[in-house]
Every structure is written in structure tokens, then in C-alpha cells.
């Protein structure tokens, strides 16, 4: 049985810029079921970022309904939205957004700091488990500037996992990485998805979209195409098929 994690029904978002009204989303509808790996694609100006902010509960729709794990986001106050972000969503950003001069472990602990129900011991245990899940054993005490881009992104993914969210929301998570590292990250994502995590991945690279189970294509504030990926690629195999690392 597949339960619905996201239900988006006729969502519209308008911004008022001076005297003009900019309509970024003009009625978007789609659902995401538990265990899906959805990529949202679209060129710039397609409303991708606006939709992402909405999905991440950083913004609310002007019209339409957005249900996240059966909670109607539109009805919530600012503080309730913050709590929702804290417990149900794991963010992964393009620029990693790790705290500088702060160890990997502390960075991963961060979301749990805002959850008062979690003791400091549990916080630590869960952060260690999350870092182990992204294969960063032995780098707990490294600060971001002691880690490579790929490693930093894995710390960020661990941070997204640590609060056991219903959905991981990635925003161009491979945008700053080279092909090999991108594939490594996608391989990790596929593994997490294989373990039952629901992933919504915003990207503009068709190559990356090929790793997901479904692609939602946005254009001009509307869903242009919503397709299941028939021949989904394995990131692990793609990684293996890359030419050997150049030694120079």
C-alpha cells in the first residue's frame, strides 16, 4: 500500500511586486507517495524555486491546498511551520549550508537541537548513526573546510536524515559537484530511497533525473509533464562505467 506523503491540489502562488502581480505558480497539482524518488525539473523561471519553497514549508500557497503527511500547511502559523520543517522535512541545499568552524557531528546534531523532546545523549547517538549512514565514519570532528565538496554534501545529507523526516527535499544538491561526486551522491540517494525514504529532488540536469523513479516537468508555472521513469539508471553502475580517475 502506498500512502500519500504530498498532496498538491491546484496550488497557485502570486507575488505582488509594486503594482504588478507576478504569478509564479498557476495551478500545480500532483501527489507523491511514500517511497517515491521524484525529480522536479524545469528551466529557470518555470516556478521551480517557488514550488520548492512551498514544498519545504518555507512559503505558503496563495490558493489551493498543500497537504504534507496529512497536515494542511496553509492553516499553520509560522511557529507551527517551523516545527513541521523540523520533524517532517530534511533539507539538502546546493551550497551545503553547513555551519563554518563547526564539526561535522555538531552540524548533523543541529536539527535535533530544536526538538526539545530529544536528550543530548540521544542527539549525539542519532547524529553518529546518520553520519555512518552516509559513510563518513571517522570524520566526526572535521570542520567543513577540512572536507571535500562531496563529503560536505554527505554531511548535509546526514543532517537531513537525522530527524527521520518523511521526505528529503534536495535543491540542486549536485549542482556544485563534479560528475563523479554527483554520481556518488546520487548513489547514496538511491540507497536511501531503496531503504524506503521518500525523496523530492529539484534539478535542471536531465542526466540526474534519470536516476529517479519519476520526473515532474514544470514550465511557466504549470506541470508540463509527469512521467514514470521506465528505464531508471543505477547510479552505482553509472559510477563504475565512468573512466578511471585521471592520475596527473
Amino acid at each position: 500500500m502506498s500512502s500519500k506523503i504530498l498532496e498538491i491540489k491546484d496550488v497557485k502562488r502570486e507575488f505582488i511586486m509594486g503594482t504588478e502581480t507576478v504569478r509564479a505558480l498557476k495551478g500545480v497539482s500532483f501527489d507523491v507517495n511514500a517511497g517515491e524518488f521524484v525529480t522536479i525539473m524545469g528551466s529557470s523561471g518555470s516556478g521551480k524555486t517557488t514550488l520548492l519553497n512551498m514544498l519545504g514549508c518555507l512559503d505558503k500557497p496563495t490558493e489551493g491546498t498543500y497537504m504534507l503527511d496529512n497536515v494542511n500547511v496553509k492553516e499553520l502559523s509560522k511557529d507551527e511551520l517551523a516545527k513541521l520543517r523540523n520533524t517532517k522535512i530534511g533539507f539538502v541545499f546546493q551550497a551545503y549550508n553547513l555551519l563554518p568552524r563547526t564539526t561535522a557531528l555538531e552540524n548533523v546534531e543541529l536539527p535535533l537541537l530544536y526538538n526539545p523532546l530529544i536528550s543530548s545523549q540521544e542527539r549525539r547517538d542519532r547524529a553518529i548513526a546518520a553520519l555512518q549512514a552516509v559513510k563518513l565514519d571517522g570524520r566526526f570532528d572535521h570542520t567543513p573546510n577540512q572536507l571535500s565538496g562531496g563529503q560536505q554534501q554527505r554531511v548535509a545529507i546526514a543532517r537531513a536524515l537525522v530527524n527521520e523526516p518523511v521526505m528529503i527535499l534536495a535543491d540542486e544538491a549536485t549542482g556544485n559537484l563534479d560528475t563523479r561526486t554527483s554520481y556518488e551522491i546520487m548513489s547514496l540517494m538511491q540507497e536511501l530511497n531503496g531503504n524506503g525514504k521518500t525523496i523530492v529532488f529539484v534539478t535542471h540536469e536531465p542526466d540526474i533525473a534519470g536516476f529517479s523513479t519519476r520526473t515532474v516537468m514544470l514550465r511557466d508555472g504549470k506541470v508540463q509533464k509527469d512521467t514514470q521513469n521506465e528505464n531508471r539508471r543505477s547510479a552505482k553502475e553509472a559510477l563504475a562505467s565512468l573512466p578511471e580517475t585521471d592520475d596527473y
Binding site: 518555507l58 497536515v71 494542511n72 509560522k78 511557529d79 530544536y114 526538538n115
Partner: protein
């Protein structure tokens, strides 16, 4: 729809249950967070604290100097006798040049007798006729002041005799040529260290036999050497030195300190009668109590303390503005961090408290360092400059509270700015 509403209600329920626990945990977390944030910028935090450190330290130092001088004034005044009353002559001629009180000739032995008879609240009384001149013993000589008094004078002024005896009432009656010497006079007239008792010295041309030596009193608060005196019967001074029947002052003591005012009133009535002062006419004498003098001197010293403290407080305010400045910089610098924290679940209040606690940590740490420095200064100053200081607990508590309030006040606006940021914009801030 129904399930959503149910879930929301359940959620609210949970929130209520955990609200107490939530606050406790959050505050500890936030304090740890603030310590970490300050550790990342140690030098900057220290420089920001500097204003507060200097402010608090100087407030405490100034107040302890002020308190110290106040106490030493009080001590020296009460060592002169806290129930002492002084009567001085003064001009009652309206207009004309006002001159030194003691040069008026209005007080005589009749006044002393009238006071003895008509002022029951006066316990002891002694006139004072004084003269300056050269004291001589063999080859040594010394310029000093001779005070002609009655035997009660020593008790009124809290003086005592170390060696020898006090002259008697009989000596007063017979204008006996006897005297008591202060330590400074002894040291100068008997440089060899031999006992002056029984020796005859001269004051000007008058030979006086030394019958006693006074216990040293040291330097007064006003820098006067209280041991540089010779004491003799007032009759001796009036007849043999001054050839005058007038006194420059009359010293008296009230039966109790609380009786001072009653004694003053009685003395005023008695002197008005002997001096035949009519109703509406100005008195030709002036009566002062030690309590009055104490209040007067204290008010001066209080004013100085208030002034110094005000100046020191300004640096506390400047320190506060320094904190505000740095907190604004810090908020701008950490805009992305704020965006991130919000996106992973920090509420506005969490961000507000984070920055507010950071500001308070700066000011309170600065305050603690300032208190330590202020106390050290208050301990070192008496040793270095010979100024008396008294560390008052109130100054420590007040300045510490002020700096905590400063932290909250000046940290609030930057913290409000941080908590009001839009997470979407903050996350993308370059």
C-alpha cells in the same frame, strides 16, 4: 480533512505537555550555542567586552573611593567627639567687610558661666584662647600653637594624656605656668629623646613647666597635624600671653549625641541673654554641632562620588552601544546561518533568544571581568596612592545588574532583526 484536524489537535496537546521541559532544555542549549559562537570569535568578543569591562571596573572603583573618603571623614569627625558643640563669635553688623569669626571679641568667661548654669544639656564646657608663637627649649625651638583651655577640653576633644597629668582647676584659678605637649612639639624640642616631664620650656617669653605629654592623634583628614599643639590653662594664656579677656571659641559637649539640638537651643537662649541680643537682631555668635559638620562634609563627598560615577556610567553605555554594533555585524554576517537554522526548524523566538543570549553573555562576562578589576583596583589604590577605599556590595550588585540590562537592551534590536528575517531570502543571501 478530518484526520488532519485530529492530528493538529493532538499536536497542540503534546505542545502543552512539554512546554516546561521545552523551555528548560532550550535555554541550556542556547547558552551552549552562545558560548560556542563567542569562542569562534574570541578576540572580537573580548574587544566588544572591553567597553563593559572598563565601565563596570571604573564604576566600582569610583564608588569605593567615594565610600572610602566618606567613611574616613566620618571616622575622624567622630574621633573628635560626635556630641561636640562649637561656639564661635561672629559679626552682627549688617554690611561691611566680613572677617574671620575668631577675630571678633564677643565671647568671655561670663558666657561660659551662663552656659554652665542655664544649659542643662551641656555636660562639659571649655573656653579656648589660642595664640601662635615660638616654643623654645634650650637650643631647640619650634613654631606652634598654644591653646588655653580648661581641663574638660581634653575629654570634649577626645584627647588623652600619655605621660604625666592634666592641670587642675586650681591651676586654672592661679594661672599656673604649666603645659601639656603634643608629640610633634616634644619631638622638636627634645630631639635627644629625653623625657620632657618636669622640664621648663618657654612659649615666647613665658616659661611653662611640662606636666604631661598628649597621646598622638596623627594627621587629621584635612591634612592638619593634630599633635602640633601645646595645651595650657586658659587663664595663663589670657593673662600672660594674650592680655585679653576674650575667647576665640567655646567648646562644649552635649550630654548625649541626640541632645545636641536641645543643647544648641539652650546655649542660643543663654548667650542671647548675656549678649543682650534683641528680638530680630542678628546673633553675634554662631553655634555648630559636629553632626552638622558631618552632614556638610558628607554631602560634598557624596556629590563628588555621584559625579565620578556618572562619568563612569557613560562608558558603560558606550560599551552597550559597542555590543549593539557587533551584534548587528554578527547578524548580517550570519544571515545564511540564520536561514539554515530556520529551514531546519528554528522558530523566530529561538533565533531571537540565540542572539539575545549571545549579547547578554558578552555583557555579563565583561561585567564579571569588570567587577574583578574594579575590586582589584579598590584594593591596590590604598596601597599605591594612600587613598582610603571601601568596596561597597551595592556598587557591585548595581553595576552588574546594569550591565546585564545593557546586554538585553542593546542586544534586543539586533536579535529582533535576526528573528524577523525571511528564511527564503536568508538562505540565498550572498
Amino acid at each position: 480533512m478530518k484526520t488532519a484536524a485530529l492530528q493538529k489537535r493532538h499536536w497542540h496537546h503534546c505542545r502543552k505537555q512539554t512546554i516546561i521541559k521545552k523551555i528548560d532544555m532550550k535555554i541550556i542549549n542556547l547558552i551552549l550555542l552562545a558560548i560556542k559562537a563567542l569562542q569562534r570569535n574570541k578576540l572580537r568578543a573580548l574587544l566588544t567586552m572591553l567597553g563593559i569591562i572598563i565601565g563596570v571596573a571604573s564604576v566600582i572603583t569610583m564608588m569605593s573611593i567615594g565610600e572610602g573618603s566618606k567613611q574616613s571623614i566620618n571616622n575622624s569627625l567622630s574621633s573628635m567627639g560626635s556630641n561636640m558643640i562649637t561656639i564661635m563669635p561672629q559679626s552682627n553688623e549688617p554690611g561691611g567687610a566680613r572677617i574671620m569669626g575668631s577675630s571678633f571679641k564677643t565671647l568671655t568667661i561670663k558666657d561660659v558661666e551662663a552656659l554652665k548654669k542655664n544649659a542643662p544639656h551641656i555636660a562639659m564646657i571649655s573656653p579656648l584662647a589660642s595664640s601662635s608663637g615660638q616654643s623654645i627649649n634650650a637650643g631647640a625651638n619650634w613654631p606652634t600653637t598654644i591653646q588655653g583651655v580648661s581641663p574638660e577640653y581634653l575629654e570634649i576633644r577626645k584627647l588623652s594624656v600619655k605621660d604625666g597629668i592634666i592641670f587642675s582647676d586650681q591651676d586654672v584659678k592661679s594661672s599656673a605656668k604649666v603645659c601639656l605637649l603634643g608629640k610633634t612639639v616634644v619631638d622638636n624640642l627634645f630631639p635627644g629623646g629625653e623625657s620632657p616631664l618636669g622640664k621648663v620650656i618657654r612659649f615666647g617669653k613665658i616659661p611653662l613647666q611640662v606636666i604631661g605629654v598628649l597621646t598622638p592623634k596623627g594627621t587629621s583628614n584635612f591634612g592638619q597635624d593634630q599633635d602640633d599643639i601645646i595645651i595650657a590653662p586658659y587663664t595663663t594664656i589670657q593673662k600672660r600671653v594674650l592680655s585679653s579677656i576674650y575667647f576665640s571659641q567655646i567648646y562644649a559637649s552635649a550630654t548625649k549625641e541626640d541632645d545636641s539640638d536641645a543643647a544648641v537651643d539652650e546655649a542660643t537662649v543663654a548667650l542671647k541673654a548675656t549678649h543682650k541680643i534683641r528680638e530680630g537682631q542678628e546673633n553675634d555668635f554662631q553655634i555648630r554641632t559636629q553632626a552638622e559638620l558631618m552632614t556638610m562634609l558628607n554631602s560634598t563627598s557624596s556629590m563628588m562620588t555621584a559625579l565620578l560615577t556618572a562619568v563612569a556610567s557613560i562608558s558603560l553605555v558606550i560599551g552597550g552601544i559597542g555590543i549593539m554594533n557587533i551584534m548587528y555585524v554578527s547578524v548580517t554576517e550570519r544571515t545564511r546561518e540564520i536561514g539554515l537554522r530556520m529551514s531546519i526548524g528554528a522558530r523566530g523566538i529561538d533565533i531571537l533568544l540565540q542572539f539575545l543570549i549571545e549579547a547578554v553573555m558578552i555583557s555579563v562576562t565583561g561585567g564579571v571581568i569588570g567587577v574583578v578589576l574594579g575590586i582589584s583596583a579598590a584594593i591596590i589604590i590604598p596601597a599605591m596612592l594612600n587613598w582610603p577605599t571601601v568596596i561597597s556590595e551595592s556598587s557591585i550588585v548595581i553595576s552588574f545588574l546594569v550591565c546585564a540590562v545593557t546586554g538585553i537592551f542593546f542586544g534586543y534590536y539586533p536579535a529582533m532583526k535576526a528573528s524577523g528575517l525571511d528564511p527564503i531570502e536568508a538562505l540565498r543571501y550572498e
